[in-house]
């Protein structure tokens, strides 16, 4: 087991992503040269066994077709298991940007199809607090795993990655960072019996109304059980309204 010091990229490194060839991996531009990254690199106090993580990511790449969202399930577990950080340490986007740009850019390109320059930059660089749509690849995976795993069990993590809509609606919002709320929404919107999520419309409406409820009743501070009760009531109301054509 070899621990490697985790590095971070400072904010000026973002300009490196103007290199379209790197974004799409064309012209043999798989990695940046170390000399290009050097001036933007800073050490952190954290370590991880990145060799093992690399082995696991390479296996995931082998097992999944390009751009398959399905790979998020195993990749999130791998990233979270191999990079053991406190939440405070994990809130440094510079570290996650470094993993995407220096160490594992091939994974980013395998996971995400190059659709546009702006879109692909967001997969290498965290542009905002929205975990699903504005966070770089490894930050998104680590944090969603962190917010869904329970005592090292990743059953919930694998579930949430079955629905991109759920990830987007839940983890792009402030309330999604409150773990009991995220788990309550998962409980209420994932049907264990049918092993599937509610329809996208129900996911949308339920989470939006939970957020509306959050303007008048405090959600943070409530337990998962209390919140599950609320979300289930909202879902039932959404579905009865839908059936009634309201």
């Amino acid at each position: 087991m070899t621990q490697t010091k985790l590095m971070r990229l400072n904010h000026e490194a973002r300009q490196l992503l103007d290199d379209k060839a790197f974004l799409n991996g064309g012209e043999g531009r798989v990695y940046f040269d170390e000399t290009e990254l050097e001036q933007y690199t800073q050490p952190t106090d954290h370590t991880a066994d990145l060799d093992i993580l690399e082995d696991r990511l390479r296996k995931i790449v082998e097992d999944h077709d390009e751009y398959a969202g399905e790979m998020d399930k195993e990749a999130a577990v791998a990233v979270h298991e191999e990079i053991d950080l406190t939440r405070s340490a994990a809130s440094d986007s510079g570290m996650w940007n470094d993993l995407a740009m220096r160490r594992f850019p091939w994974f980013v390109r395998h996971r995400w199809r190059y659709e546009s320059e702006t879109g692909m930059k967001k997969k290498f660089w965290t542009y905002g607090a929205a975990l699903d749509s504005a966070s770089s690849t490894f930050e998104r995976l680590w944090w969603i795993a962190e917010l869904t795993q329970e005592d090292g069990c990743y059953k919930n993590t694998r579930k949430v990655f079955e629905s991109r809509r759920f990830c987007f609606m839940m983890f792009d919002t402030q309330i999604g960072r409150y773990k009991p709320a995220a788990l309550a929404c998962l409980d209420a919107l994932y049907d264990d019996e049918g092993e599937s999520f509610a329809s996208n419309e129900v996911i949308d409406a339920t989470i939006k109304r939970l957020r509306r409820a959050g303007t008048t009743i405090p959600l943070e501070g409530r337990t998962k059980t209390e919140l599950t009760d609320i979300v289930q009531s909202i879902r039932a109301d959404v579905e009865s309204n839908t059936e009634a054509g309201l």
Binding site: S116, R164, D204, R211, R212, G214, T215, N241
Partner: protein, 646 residues
């Protein structure tokens, strides 16, 4: 002259023997970048090019409608069963994802999305059904070809094919009022096209890949032998049933049936309406700010209730482009080298092109290069230069560090008809440069390229390829260097950002306003004195008055107010429709317009008390999110003042 229109009874595809050549559908499907950004760019550019020659802006409203199950009226009107019969047959013949996935998605109960692009102040789909010239031929009959002259953005005409690529059913409908009608034509004109692979229906009959939705009267016409446009009252009635009706003024409404993010043909991760609105808004602002900031284009969005406006009034609120607009707008009379943050410098330099081969045209003319020093807090697109010409669309943001510059600035290279200031008209030289660069744009209009451009080489004298390259490299580098370093460089003084930069003021919101727009006090004073939920509706009570001081007299004023439902993180969730506006002044008017409240004072009424109520909502349980924090806001207003002589 068109014959009497009749409603279409089905989608018409030409029958063919099985052994005739099979076509995969729209060939252009694979030639353009398939992304929502490209879709927005191509569609907007084509619409902007179709603008009428007057002082009014081209207005575009993108409207996204969602249906869990389309209504029977819609299905009957669009001949749904007939369309699906052909599309289901065609999906068996298509390689790769596309029709197959979309039909599976619909069969699984997926939401049908219709995207409508409604244009105003454009020419409409002009032309007859037979000739090779005109909008009809380029957009409807032969999409992918072009009818445009050399200096419009969509010269290649490929833009229209993105409409079909963004349709899960590869089907598009048009409803158009023509600016100039030919003899026998009576607007509106309604027609639909579907381009799917050559296919065989369940009875074994093979059909061509081109589908028509139109008046069957054209089938008997020996010049057509296929359906033709539906006209007049018949078209108007049909458009209403299709939710494609439009104002009776020149312009076209285009419906993409089964709209989807074209980058996700397998329908795995389709964006939500809010995400679509984000992409449309950002792309519009990023690439069309030259046209929008000049008041030539307005874009409105209503994506399943997510309403946004990108206009001359709002474009400067987009932090990503505000510095470029400030740079472009303040370049007239600016210095020729940069000073501190927010300062603008401008230079015009001579650009040599080549004359056309078929007639002598200007072989050089000035282009304008301007730069604006960035504030420390400005991070978006710092160090980039926006390249554009008269079409009003940014062709490319060129990173300055590709030219060797690491300074913090925003630049614009305004060429051709974009060069003159607001009050000036383009010269012949400007027009020549515009046409030259237009021809250098590849189909996606995202660069100026001379190499491998046979059309450019065939049209202009030799040397034209080098002209393109020289502009983007040597000339840009040389003149940008003058702007950035100017006299300081020649005198040996160095620029010291740490000393010269002053902090950005918080209220400037990322853009420099002090040079051109003096800061103004809020034009209205107002207060909500009471807000309640009564009988499942919001009521806001309060007062409002204009705050004009000095010797001027208020002649009239108006405000538009909205109610917005809020999320827990203080972001707006959705608009709550206003249903009733009551005011206490007899000389003034309170009314509801499109879910907003409007208060209009016809004379100097002073303070007006209002009582504004929302529509009734179904339930009122805060725990279920039925009712929650709601914002009352003024979204627009105007005050007319009369000068009072002393």
């Amino acid at each position: 002259m068109p014959s009497e229109s009749a409603r279409p009874e089905d989608w018409w595809f030409k029958e063919q023997p099985p052994g005739q050549s099979h076509s995969p559908g729209l060939l252009q499907k694979k030639t353009l970048d398939r992304s929502l950004e490209t879709f927005v760019k191509e569609v907007l550019q084509n619409i902007n090019d179709a603008g009428l020659d007057n002082d009014s802006p081209v207005e575009v409203t993108f409207r996204l409608l969602e249906f869990d199950e389309p209504s029977e009226v819609f299905k009957n009107a669009i001949c749904w069963d007939s369309l699906l019969e052909h599309v289901r047959a065609a999906k068996e013949e298509q390689d790769g994802p596309g029709l197959d996935d979309y039909i599976d998605y619909l069969d699984d109960g997926g939401t049908l999305r219709l995207l409508i692009a409604e244009e105003k102040n454009t020419s409409g789909i002009q032309g007859d059904e037979v000739s090779t010239e005109g909008d009809y031929a380029a957009l409807v009959r032969d999409p992918g070809s072009s009818n445009k002259s050399g200096d419009t953005g969509g010269r290649h005409g490929l833009g229209s094919s993105v409409l079909w690529v963004a349709s899960g059913l590869q089907t598009v409908l048009f409803n158009s009022y023509l600016d100039e009608e030919l003899s026998g034509q009576e607007s509106p004109r309604l027609v639909g096209r579907s381009f799917v692979p050559t296919h065989a229906t369940s009875d074994g009959q093979w059909y061509d890949n081109e589908g028509w939705f139109g008046s069957p009267t054209g089938i008997e016409n020996p010049d057509l032998e296929r359906p033709e446009s539906v006209w007049g009252d018949v078209a108007e009635g049909l458009a209403e049933e299709l939710s494609l009706n439009r104002p009776g003024e020149a312009g076209t409404s285009t419906m993409v049936v089964g709209f989807r993010d074209p980058s996700d043909p397998s329908m795995e991760e389709q964006p939500s309406p809010a995400e679509i609105a984000d992409t449309f808004e950002e792309t519009t602002a990023d690439y069309f700010w030259p046209a929008i900031s000049r008041g030539e284009l307005e874009v409105h969005l209503n994506m399943a209730g997510d309403v946004r406006h990108i206009t001359d009034e709002t474009i400067r609120d987009h932090e990503r482009v505000a510095p470029f607009i400030a740079c472009y707008e303040n370049r007239e009379g600016a210095a020729d080298s940069l000073n501190g943050p927010g300062s603008v410098a401008n230079i015009e330099f001579e650009y040599e092109i080549q004359s056309r081969k078929d007639s002598e045209t200007p072989a050089s003319g000035p282009v304008s290069l301007a730069a604006r020093r960035a504030y420390p807090g400005e991070e978006e697109r710092v160090g980039e230069i926006a390249l554009f010409r008269g079409s009003g669309m940014v062709v490319q943001y060129k990173p300055g560090h590709h030219l060797g510059f690491s300074e913090k600035f925003h630049g614009v290279l305004a060429c051709g008809n974009a060069r003159p200031g607001m009050e000036d008209e383009p010269t012949d030289e400007d027009s020549a440069i515009d046409k030259f660069l237009a021809m250098a744009e590849p189909p996606a209009h995202d660069d100026w390229i001379g190499e491998k451009n046979d059309e450019l080489k065939g049209t202009y004298e030799s040397g034209c390829v080098k002209c393109i390259k020289r502009l983007k490299k040597q000339l840009l580098r040389k003149h940008l260097s003058k702007l950035l370093y100017g006299a300081r460089e020649s005198t040996g003084q160095s620029y010291r950002p740490s000393r010269d930069i002053v902090p950005k003021i918080a209220r400037s919101n990322g853009r420099e306003t002090s040079r051109s727009t003096p800061s103004l006090a809020a034009p209205f004073d107002w207060e909500v004195t009471d807000s309640t939920v009564d009988r499942n509706r919001w009521t806001f009570r309060g007062w409002i008055e204009p705050t004009i001081n000095g010797s001027n007299r208020v002649a009239e004023w108006s405000v538009i107010v909205e109610m917005a439902a809020m999320f827990e993180d203080n972001r707006e969730a959705s608009k709550i429709p206003v249903d009733e506006v009551r005011i206490d002044s007899a000389s003034s008017d309170g009314r509801v317009d499109d879910g907003r409240g409007v208060i209009k004072a016809t004379e100097d009424s002073g303070r007006i008390w209002f009582d504004i109520r929302s529509k009734v909502f179904a339930d009122r349980d805060p725990r279920l999110g039925d009712v929650g924090e709601t914002k009352f806001k003024i979204v627009d207003g105007s005050i007319t003042v009369e000068e009072v002589s002393s």
